[in-house]
């Protein structure tokens, strides 16, 4: 299995880029290299942003039958669509207000939102709880911590769409409220209000687990 992976890696010409080398090139430089046919730049862009894209999509796919597989599939689609858009449009000329990162996250949020909507269409019951994670060999404190995390994840799943978008972009993607406003096409003040409501629901969810 590992041999097959290595062969695939050799065929594609894709190599792991060290963290030091990665920090030397900006996203924009990598996009330019990719447009010039550099597959390694493509791989580096994926590697650099995949954690965040996966984290974003996990917020929308959690609780769906496909689970984390759906998040990975959607992440792949998000990257391909973002690259398609980069190649099709004069994005490099109009790069000013929006970075590749914000562009990619916008694609990911839209995909996640569509996936959540389609999943809900086939499953009438609301999301009751995030999937429980099996726990081995841990103490009471860890179990309580896991329970609180589960309550928070469930609360995120049940947030209204816009609040969930803002919350995940702020916490998972670590975008500023100004960037979030640009990604979602809303005002910065609106983004802050949505975030406030979402954070309050999360806080209340934790309070319910902890009890009076």
């Amino acid at each position: 299995m590992a041999d097959a992976r290595d062969r695939a890696r050799a065929r594609s010409g894709l190599r792991l880029v060290t963290a030091a080398a990665a920090s030397e090139r900006s996203d924009e430089a990598l996009v330019r290299a990719f447009l010039a046919g550099d597959d390694e730049a493509f791989g580096e862009l994926v590697r650099r942003h995949e954690r965040t894209v996966l984290a974003l999509l996990k917020r929308y796919t959690e609780g769906s039958p496909a689970g984390s597989d759906a998040a990975r599939d959607l992440a792949q689609v998000a990257f391909v669509r973002a690259f398609q858009a980069v190649r099709r449009t004069s994005w490099l000329r109009a790069i000013g207000p929006e970075s590749f990162r914000a562009w990619l996250f916008r694609v990911a949020v839209n995909l996640g939102r569509n996936h959540a909507r389609d999943t809900r269409r086939w499953r009438r019951a609301p999301v009751e709880a995030a999937e429980a994670v099996p726990v081995w060999g841990v103490g009471t404190a860890e179990l309580e911590h896991a329970e609180r995390e589960r309550a928070v994840r469930t609360a995120v799943l049940n947030l209204p769409q816009r609040q969930r978008d803002v919350l995940t972009l702020r916490i998972d993607a670590e975008l500023s409220f100004r960037e979030i406003a640009g990604v979602l096409g809303i005002t910065e003040g609106n983004a802050r209000v949505h975030f406030h409501h979402a954070a309050r629901r999360l806080r209340d969810a934790v309070a319910r687990v902890e009890g009076p």
Partner: protein, 186 residues
Amino acid sequence: MNPCVELDGLLAERASGDLAPEDQARLDAHLPSCERCRAELASYEAALDLMRMPKGSACRDAGVPSPLPCGVGRGPGRGAPTERGREHLDLALSTLAAWKRHRSRTARLALGAGVLSVAAAAALALAPGLFEKRVPHALESAAPAAAAEPDVGESVETSALARRQDDEEITSEDVALAALDAAEQP
């Protein structure tokens, strides 16, 4: 208005780490004197921390969002950073493969569009001949409408021209034959 109620939204923003400087100053002035707001801030921070992936953990570095602190509660043989690292690379590989598939599909479509364009250009090159062949039919179909009010002189000219080659001169013989044609018409 109670300042604590007014500042509640700012507490959540502060907990997330993105607060406008002027709001930051308002909170900094208020918090030391308000135990309730300090407790609220702590509860927001706790809730948002539970949502965040643990920073600097093996899971985070390997690119795997985890609902639990990395290494806690994972079954035997699961969550080893090296294996996660492989999965991490696999996504880059599979995405690259998907991109290459998309690119070759696009190239095939472009080739098909090119072939269609050439075919369309060839058809256009032939079209004038086809069009010219259709003109007399069009004139013929228009003729009955024009003949609603018979005009012998006009019909003589039309029938004579219909039988003539393009570059030939109209002779007196042609005019006579056209007159005979007109006389034979009911």
